[in-house]
């Protein structure tokens, strides 16, 4: 198959999974309600924290930025790699994965396209609902101080958009590692339990990374999970601008490359074993 035809195949896999996931509207609404609830609690905690004058003066981001961070973080919650793709876990357990091996496609890319479609379909409706709620509805209700604020500049908005797309790829590369782990161990629950605490702390989902201690800052920015949420938001606020903005995007691209190469190498080994043992 020629290269463009193959690309077409991966896009079709992505789109098909995206459409399929959008069918599950109940899950979207339930998730959205929970995320509003958690967002409100986080906003209140941050407000209490910034209430102390000493803390507010020395904080690297303003209260209004921290509040925006929380709402965006809640909107993009399902962008994070919380667990292995459940479809792939099921396929591995039932042996339906044999059919995946029968497709004339690159096996890593086949799973990657599907997983990316799964993540995108989970995040897009939730993010839009959250923006409507926190960015539009809250100011209308006279709660502008607690709302999701627009980006610092048009350039910042563009950089943020690019960075979120990179975050999707980065998250998919991480989900792929979980998928491959599931194929190797035939169990999803344990791996998923391992992933969640790492993701919640190091992506910035729990607390903006810049609010963590100063001596950790460099390490926090360089580690792979920062590219999932914290780097996009630093671009949104203009904390990373000019050449630093491109360094931020470059860092995301770097981790995507590393994780994809790692995943491909590992998958090849796991498949080799499945070919031997009869998966």
């Amino acid at each position: 198959m020629s290269a463009p035809a193959a690309t077409h195949a991966y896009i079709a896999l992505f789109v098909s999974r995206f459409q399929l996931m959008l069918q599950y509207r109940g899950a979207v609404l339930a998730g959205f309600a929970t995320q509003c609830w958690w967002g409100a609690i986080k906003v209140m905690i941050l407000a209490a924290f910034y209430g102390a004058p000493a803390a507010a003066a020395s904080a690297p981001i303003t209260l209004s930025q921290a509040i925006t961070y929380s709402w965006v973080g809640q909107g993009l919650l399902t962008l994070l790699p919380w667990m292995a793709d459940p479809d792939i876990a099921t396929a591995v357990r039932t042996g339906a994965v044999s059919y995946d091996r029968l497709r004339p496609l690159d096996f890593y890319a086949l799973w990657f396209a599907r997983a990316a479609g799964w993540i995108a379909a989970r995040v897009v409706p939730r993010a839009l609902l959250m923006a409507a709620f926190a960015c539009l509805l809250l100011p209308l209700l006279g709660l502008a101080a607690w709302a999701w604020q627009p980006p610092s500049a048009v350039m910042a908005a563009l950089l943020f958009a690019v960075s979120v797309v990179l975050a999707l790829l980065l998250s998919t590369a991480m989900v792929m590692l979980l998928n491959i782990g599931v194929a190797a161990l035939l169990d999803a629950a344990g791996l998923n339990a391992l992933a969640a605490p790492l993701v919640i702390i190091f992506s910035g989902s729990l607390l903006p990374l810049s609010l963590l201690p100063d001596w950790m800052q460099v390490a926090l920015l360089l580690q792979p999970f920062a590219g999932l949420l914290d780097i996009p938001l630093r671009l949104y606020f203009g904390q990373l601008s000019g050449p630093l903005a491109f360094a931020g995007l470059g860092l995301q691209a770097f981790w995507i490359t590393v994780l994809v190469l790692t995943g491909r190498y590992w998958l090849a080994r796991v498949l080799r074993r499945l070919e031997m043992q009869g998966g």
Partner: protein
């Protein structure tokens, strides 16, 4: 030169075991025990283009392993396999674009997608040009009477309907070779007839080479001119359906039961086995 060549194929699985009960579980934590199961012990046969071969044998005889090796999913321990000159597990991507496979016990269609969406996705995966896809789909859908089901999600199909949809799914890219692993398992009589009639036409009219495994002797009688009996990972018999009938003549059955045929060939080879 034959289209499909298999020579001295061997395949061993390593199966982990543990003693039953809690004590066995504990022991299993520290010391793993493995048993080697020889699935194939030197299987050889070859197939010309356009042949229709039935593969029979008891469960665990090595039928599915053979199909999986031919499909490029499994790698044999030793032996030679080529399909149209390609080694399935070495040239996987090239090879799988040219074959169609149906595993009767599994589904390749997306459970929550309407049947036609699943077909369209396969069209994109195999890169089938739109016009060609429409023509093939229309033909297959008419032959297998699938028209009224195209808009239904796969999970709502009956087993017989699903199997017909699976067969269409395996043929949308017009493969030259079709592997059917127990395509009639669990089907009622009319569904079985529909599948048989269709496979026969595909083979006769299109010249598609077919290998199918089954436990239903009527499948074999209706379809295969050539039958291979596999048992204990070896080819016990390779010949025409009449040859099988001849071999079990003393049972006086109109259609010999598959058990009778297998038992007969096991008996013939019994001395060599144990």
């Amino acid at each position: 030169m034959p289209q499909i060549i298999i020579e001295h194929l061997t395949k061993t699985y390593r199966i982990s075991e543990r003693d039953p009960g809690f004590a066995g579980t504990l022991r299993g934590l520290f010391r793993r025990r493995y048993r080697r199961v020889e699935a194939l012990r030197g299987v050889s046969f070859s197939l010309e283009r356009g042949e229709l071969l039935g593969l029979i044998g008891p469960n665990g005889a090595g039928k599915s392993t053979t199909i999986k090796i031919l499909s490029g999913i499994l790698r044999p321990d030793s032996g030679l396999v080529t399909v149209d000159g390609l080694v399935p597990f070495e040239d996987r991507r090239k090879h799988v674009a040219r074959i169609g496979v149906v595993f009767g016990q599994r589904t390749q269609l997306w459970w929550d997608l309407p049947v036609s969406d699943g077909f369209a996705l396969l069209r994109d995966i195999y890169g089938v040009p739109e016009q060609r896809y429409r023509r093939t789909l229309e033909e297959l859908v008419t032959l297998l009477r699938l028209e009224p089901l195209l808009d239904q999600p796969v999970r709502q199909l009956s087993l017989g309907q699903r199997m017909r949809a699976e067969i269409v799914a395996a043929l949308l890219h017009e493969p030259a070779v079709l592997f059917l692993d127990e395509p009639t398992i669990g089907l009622d009589a009319p569904s079985k007839l529909a599948v048989r009639e269709f496979v026969l036409r595909l083979n006769r009219e299109r010249g598609v080479t077919v290998i199918l495994t089954t436990h239903d002797m009527q499948d074999i009688e209706a379809l295969a001119e050539r039958v291979i009996v596999i048992g204990h990972g070896r080819v016990l018999a390779d010949g025409t359906f009449d040859l099988l009938r001849e071999a079990v003549r003393e049972t006086h059955l109109e259609v010999p039961s598959i058990e009778a045929v297998i038992a007969r060939f096991y008996a013939l080879h019994g001395a060599a086995e144990t």
